[in-house]
Amino acid sequence: MVPRIAHVRRRRHDAPDAWTLELDMADGAHVDYAPGQFNMLTAFGVGEAAISMSGDPATGPLIHTIRAVGPVSRALTELKPGEPIGVRGPFGVGWPMAAAEGKDVVLVAGGLGMAPLRPALYRLLGERSRYGKVTLLFGSRRPEDIVFRHEVENWRGRFDIDVDVTVDHAGADWRGHVGIVTTLIARLDLDPAKTIAMVCGPEVMMRFVSMALCDRGIAEESVWLSMERNMKCAIGHCGHCQLGPTFICRDGPVFTYRRLKPLLGVKEL
């Protein structure tokens, strides 16, 4: 599958090492996608990386939030407005939005894990009456690392969503929570039988968050995680992203904790 060409419309610095790119497809087409899906983005001359959509699937342009960790992601975050970028996708199976209808929804994000959850949150807020109570628990390293900070502050001010933010490390001037995100789960007021959880963050964080949610009585099949493994083809051919019997690119990246639990200990492939 050959990448389509897009151009960077806007570039915003979102966290010390993360940038958000707004893209225009060169052919003017609108890219339809489901919350939780991802694209393979090409930085020409450097390479390709899997990056989730982080914008509003209903309205906005194609938006990706990228953390510079290696050569490809760094090159992507350095693209300036007007520069070309390659787009293959959308790929994967997203968040269980249909299964969440009529239920309370708890989103648990760790660091840049907020990016793949953001389209789900837009959908939940955009079609608010279809869902029960919506809660966002968001853990970051330090206050200055909180990605989409202004938006998070806006969500906090709304009456139709509960938002709790915690950081791992803070100076005395931070008045919010300090402690890992699982400490917020222990304090949640929830009805486990009618709650569905969507979790994204580093794997270790997701493991402990899943355990904490299940300890609160949520069923393993009601806890959904988005997995990150190295990808190449993104269409289930190359085997790069294989985790046990599953291909993250084709069968995921979103899976239930029930399905992932035996595989979560598997080391990077």
């Binding site: 090492d17 953390r67 960790v69 760790g110 660091g111 840049l112 853990g139 970051s140 390293r141 690392d145 915690t166 791992d168 490390h169 803070a170 100076g171 005395a172 931070w174 008045r175 919010g176 929570h177 300090v178 402690g179 890992i180 699982t182 400490t183 304090r187 963050g201 580093p202 270790v204 964080m205 402990f208």
Partner: protein, 153 residues
């Protein structure tokens, strides 16, 4: 006293405690209220109080030279802190500072220690309530210092 006993029995830490033990524990308890920004405890001081939070939030902090005070954990209603009352040398190992107007039940650590010593059944029950909190704090501190969200992890 009856009011305090009810408050104590409704706090998650003591909920379901044997009635007799509750009465004994109540003898060591008093209501406490702190303004926002007040220090409840200072690192190095004698830890002769154990706190059960009812309202408000408390930041546990350690001050590092040149870096000022760093908060490593915030606690809210239903949480407890100050388990140092149980372990020699009974000394606070951090500062505890309120973030809001805070209400708590302050338990006299020495009084509680003596009662636990005199009645090991009560002591064991209280120990079973304290240990999970201590273990949970240890575990979450480990994860916190793994620096999970750092790009290198």
């Amino acid at each position: 006293m009856e009011n305090l006993e009810r408050i104590l029995s409704e706090h998650p830490f003591f909920s379901g405690l044997d009635k007799g033990f509750l009465e004994l524990a109540c003898g060591c308890a008093r209501n406490a209220r702190f303004e926002s920004g007040a220090y409840i405890a200072h690192e190095g001081e004698a830890a002769d109080q154990f706190y059960l939070l009812r309202e408000g939030r408390v930041a546990l902090q350690i001050t590092a030279p040149g870096r000022g005070a760093a908060t490593f954990l915030t606690l809210g209603p239903g949480d407890v802190f100050g388990v140092n009352w149980l372990v020699p040398p009974y000394r606070w190992t951090y500062d505890a500072r309120t973030l809001d107007v805070t209400r708590a039940i302050a338990m006299d650590g020495k009084c509680l220690r003596n009662k636990c010593e005199a009645d090991h059944h009560m002591g064991y029950d209280i120990m079973k309530r304290l240990m999970p909190i201590v273990i949970d704090r240890l575990h979450t501190t480990r994860l916190q210092f793994l620096d999970l969200y750092n790009a290198d992890v």
